[in-house]
């Protein structure tokens, strides 16, 4: 029995939902070793996945088709990339865009000419196309124009780009949506349930993004070589590693979080379980030294992180400013068996939320043997099921016990009902409107759970006045509109990390926190808000490269140690280390 099994048998000591599921805390989460990009890279290395280039038909402008094969012990997949010209006027990261610099799909099985032709006709259209059921993932990405130009210019001259460019913006491409689970005709996720390669949530999507990262390196080297075949050089390995893939995302993540509460509960439960397992370990001096080293690395990473957003800049600075005290604490406190527990208690008293959650992330990082098995528990069968025979009085008590946060808000005030969430007719883009000023509140998306729980609670109280011995189904037969909330409550009482403890209508609600919640589980770094409801992040920055994966690494722990990447030093003599582009591993 693993540590995780033991803990799930007696799930004691997890932090209460009232603490963990507060929106401000969720909006302070960092990626952990259980985040999906980390789990995928570990799985690829452990199982010796191999990636090879089977097609690379790009012209001198870098436009054309590339196909990469992904071979696992269980199956074969192909990443199919279509790079095309794009007018600046059409380059938008929003879902309402209709063209992109690159579009791509991850295919299960082989890609014959017929399928390639079908994909060439549909993948570039994205939502407007009909996708083949063999395609697991559909995505698109736009260039970081500044980075792209700088990288091509530098490599064409035979020089390495300045790493500082990747510190400012850590990618050449940023995805603007990564679709799976049956969207636009893609394969259903249900088909992957028995697939050992991609049965974990979002693992196929992350694999697609990883292939895009490799393509971005090969494409930029190809462009440099095409422009200056005699002087161009390949990108240095340190810079390649430091190059991630961006993602630009907006409010679309919010409905997902609310509409998949059991999945979110599962993710948070694994993270909290990992934290509890870490806190139970009795560390030795080597563990302490490792935590100090990780803290220093994270501190430098955050100090290097650049964002134009004033609030995020302030939050990063506050975390960086707090970490020297953490280092002092770690160096000075006696090494007692419960030192990690002491650390989190001290940090809860003294540190800002982002720093607290950073400490938790780093503690989890220390114990791969104890926590990594939890990555297999990120999936869940989602079903909000009714318990119709539950006494209604019992349901009322459960609401008052577990949903106190929802009952405590004021849903009558203008402030408390300020926002409404809706989908626009424009490609169903999720948007926020001001309730008393903008049209559309009658078509509101019902994702603010707090007011719905409060309304249902009131209706239950009224019904119980007349029918004190009623069951849930008695109540619902009279008032069926409460069915969805009732079964949500009944389900989530058993999965208490499912609901976010916030009034999503309130004027002070910060949508950015919702976005960060989901992105942290993906493994995002470099949070770079572009407004209060729009953010760019980076995935896979620092991750091992395809050529390193193909070399079948022996030291898996070292291979896995790529969190909080740091800017590589700029080489003094760049020409001496440049390799010719023809030497690129593919």
């Amino acid at each position: 029995m693993t540590s995780a099994d033991l803990l799930s048998a007696a799930p004691l000591g997890l932090r209460p939902a009232d603490e963990v599921m507060r929106l401000e805390r969720l909006g302070s989460l960092h990626a952990t070793r259980l985040s999906f990009v980390r789990s995928l890279v570990r799985q690829m290395a452990r199982q010796r996945w191999q990636i090879s280039r089977v097609r690379f038909d790009l012209n001198a402008e870098g436009h054309g088709t590339a196909v990469y094969r992904l071979q696992t012990p269980h199956g074969r997949y192909h990443g199919v990339m279509f790079a095309q010209p794009l007018d600046d006027a059409n380059r938008s990261d929003r879902v309402i865009a209709e063209a992109w610099d690159v579009t791509f799909g991850l295919v299960e099985g082989d890609v014959d000419d017929t399928l390639l032709a079908q994909m060439a006709a549909n993948v570039p259209l994205q939502e407007a196309g009909r996708q083949h059921p063999q395609v697991l993932v559909l995505s698109r990405a736009n260039k970081s124009l500044r980075n792209f130009a700088h990288f091509v210019d530098a490599l064409a001259r035979g020089e390495q780009p300045d790493p500082a460019w990747l510190t400012r913006v850590g990618y050449l491409y940023r995805t603007t949506a990564v679709y799976g689970n049956g969207k636009f005709g893609l394969a259903d996720f249900a088909r992957l349930i028995d697939n050992p390669d991609f049965r974990r949530p979002f693992s196929a999507q992350m694999a697609g993004v990883y292939l895009l990262r490799h393509f971005s390196i090969e494409q930029v080297e190809h462009l440099a070589a095409a422009r200056a075949p005699h002087t161009a050089c390949a990108l240095d390995i340190e810079l390649r590693r430091y190059l991630g893939i961006g993602n630009s995302t907006g409010l679309g993540m919010a409905p997902f979080l609310i509409n998949h509460p059991q999945l979110i509960a599962q993710w948070v439960t694994q993270r909290e379980t990992a934290l509890t397992l870490a806190l139970r370990q009795a560390p030795d001096e080597a563990d302490r030294e490792r935590l100090i080293a990780l803290t220093r690395r994270a501190m430098q990473h955050l100090a290097e992180t650049v964002t134009e957003d004033a609030e995020q800049t302030e939050r990063n600075a506050a975390t960086v400013a707090a970490l020297p005290d953490v280092l002092t604490w770690l160096a000075s406190v006696p090494l007692e068996t419960d030192i990690w527990q002491q650390l989190v208690e001290w940090s809860a008293r003294t540190l800002p939320l982002e720093a607290q959650e950073l400490i938790n992330t780093l503690l989890i990082e220390l114990y791969p043997d104890q926590v990594d098995a939890l990555e297999e528990r990120m999936g869940v069968e989602e079903n909000l099921d009714l318990e119709p025979d539950m006494p209604l009085m019992r349901l009322r008590q459960l609401i008052e016990t577990h949903y106190g946060w929802a009952l405590a808000h004021d849903y009558a005030s203008r402030e408390g009902t300020y926002w409404f969430w809706y989908r626009s007719a424009e490609k169903e883009e999720p948007r926020l409107g001001v309730r008393h000023a903008e049209p559309g509140a009658d078509k509101e998306m019902p994702i603010a759970i707090g007011p719905r729980v409060a309304r249902t609670h009131q209706a239950i109280c009224d019904f119980l006045e007349l029918h004190p011995r009623a069951t849930v189904v008695d109540f619902l037969l009279e008032y069926p509109r409460h069915k969805e909330v009732v079964r949500r409550i009944q389900t989530l009482i058993k999965a208490p990390y499912g609901d976010i403890h916030a009034n999503l209508w309130h004027r002070d609600m910060k949508p950015m926190h919702l976005l960060r919640t989901k992105l942290s589980f993906f493994g995002a770094s470099r949070f770079d808000p572009k407004s209060d409801r729009w953010v760019r992040i980076t995935l896979f920055q620092g991750a091992p490269l395809v050529e390193e994966l193909n070399a079948e690494p022996q030291d898996l722990a070292d291979f896995d140690d790529w969190s909080f990447p740091l800017e590589p030093a700029r080489q003094g003599d760049v020409h001496a280390t440049c390799r010719q582009a023809g030497g690129v591993v593919s």
Partner: protein, 255 residues
């Protein structure tokens, strides 16, 4: 056109919301249609046949409880499609069976009855043995019986005609549900009855349909797909310059 299971379910949910279903009812109805379709039981075709009725229904006319005791309930479905709110009638049977071991629920006056299988599948998955019975036509008299084994989300279905029609053969547009907490209620036809078996869908056949649907997608007619999209559009808010800023992003990203 070829669509995925999740896509069909998602579009149906939005379309039912567009029709005016409450959120939970829209989700349940979408599940019923998609479940039927992916098990080869023509859920979309049945939805298509009933859609005009559905649009004309009075949304406030809820299924009405006519009689109940500990083991038995009779409800009036108000002539509505089972897609609207009928799930609670089945939940009532579930609750009674849990309390008393066995329950009988009769839902009178309802249509689109086949689609109820999609919701019964959920109840069976929650550990209930279920038999559902209804008559499809009076002349010739045909009957359908659907049996779920507790814990199995795929049923066994039999449709048969009765040669020896009883004298009293009033139109019957109801459904009878029998649920048992512990006892299996699988439909097996007695050999000595005067019946013609018209269709038999064993669990394995329906499972194979589902696997095929997940592997190759689901074929639906363009016309009904377009109609569902039009209904789904009702829940969307028309865009304006002001609302574009509500997404919180700029128009171009050329940095």
């Amino acid at each position: 056109m070829n669509v995925s299971y999740n896509e069909l379910q998602g579009l149906c949910r939005k379309a039912f919301s567009g029709i005016g279903f409450e959120e939970g009812d829209a989700a349940d109805a979408a599940d019923m249609v998609a479940w039927m379709q992916c098990h080869g039981l023509h859920g979309v075709e049945q939805l298509n046949r009933g859609l005009d009725y559905l649009l004309a229904e009075d949304p406030d006319a809820l299924p009405r409880l006519i009689y109940q005791d500990g083991d038995l309930a009779v409800l009036d479905g108000q002539g509505h499609s089972v897609l609207r709110s009928i799930s609670l009638a089945t939940e009532l049977g579930f609750a009674k069976a849990r309390a008393r071991g066995l329950s009988v629920v009769k839902i009178r006056r309802c249509h689109n009855r086949q689609l109820i299988m999609g919701y019964l599948s959920r109840l069976a998955g929650r550990g209930m043995n279920i038999t559902a019975f209804w008559r499809n036509a009076q002349v010739p008299l045909t009957e359908q019986v659907v049996g779920f084994r507790a814990g199995h989300t795929i049923p066994e279905v039999r449709v048969y005609s009765v040669r020896d029609v009883p004298e009293e053969n009033e139109p019957n547009d109801g459904i009878t549900l029998v649920m048992a907490n512990h006892v299996e209620l699988l439909p097996s036809l007695g050999a000595d009855h005067d019946l013609d078996l018209l269709a038999h869908h064993p669990e394995s056949e329906l499972l194979a349909c589902r696997q095929l649907a997940l592997r190759e997608g689901i074929q639906v007619e363009d016309a009904i797909w377009t109609r569902l999209k039009e209904l789904a559009h009702r829940i969307l808010v028309e865009s304006s310059e002001a609302s574009r800023s509500g997404a919180g992003a700029g128009e171009h990203d050329n940095d």
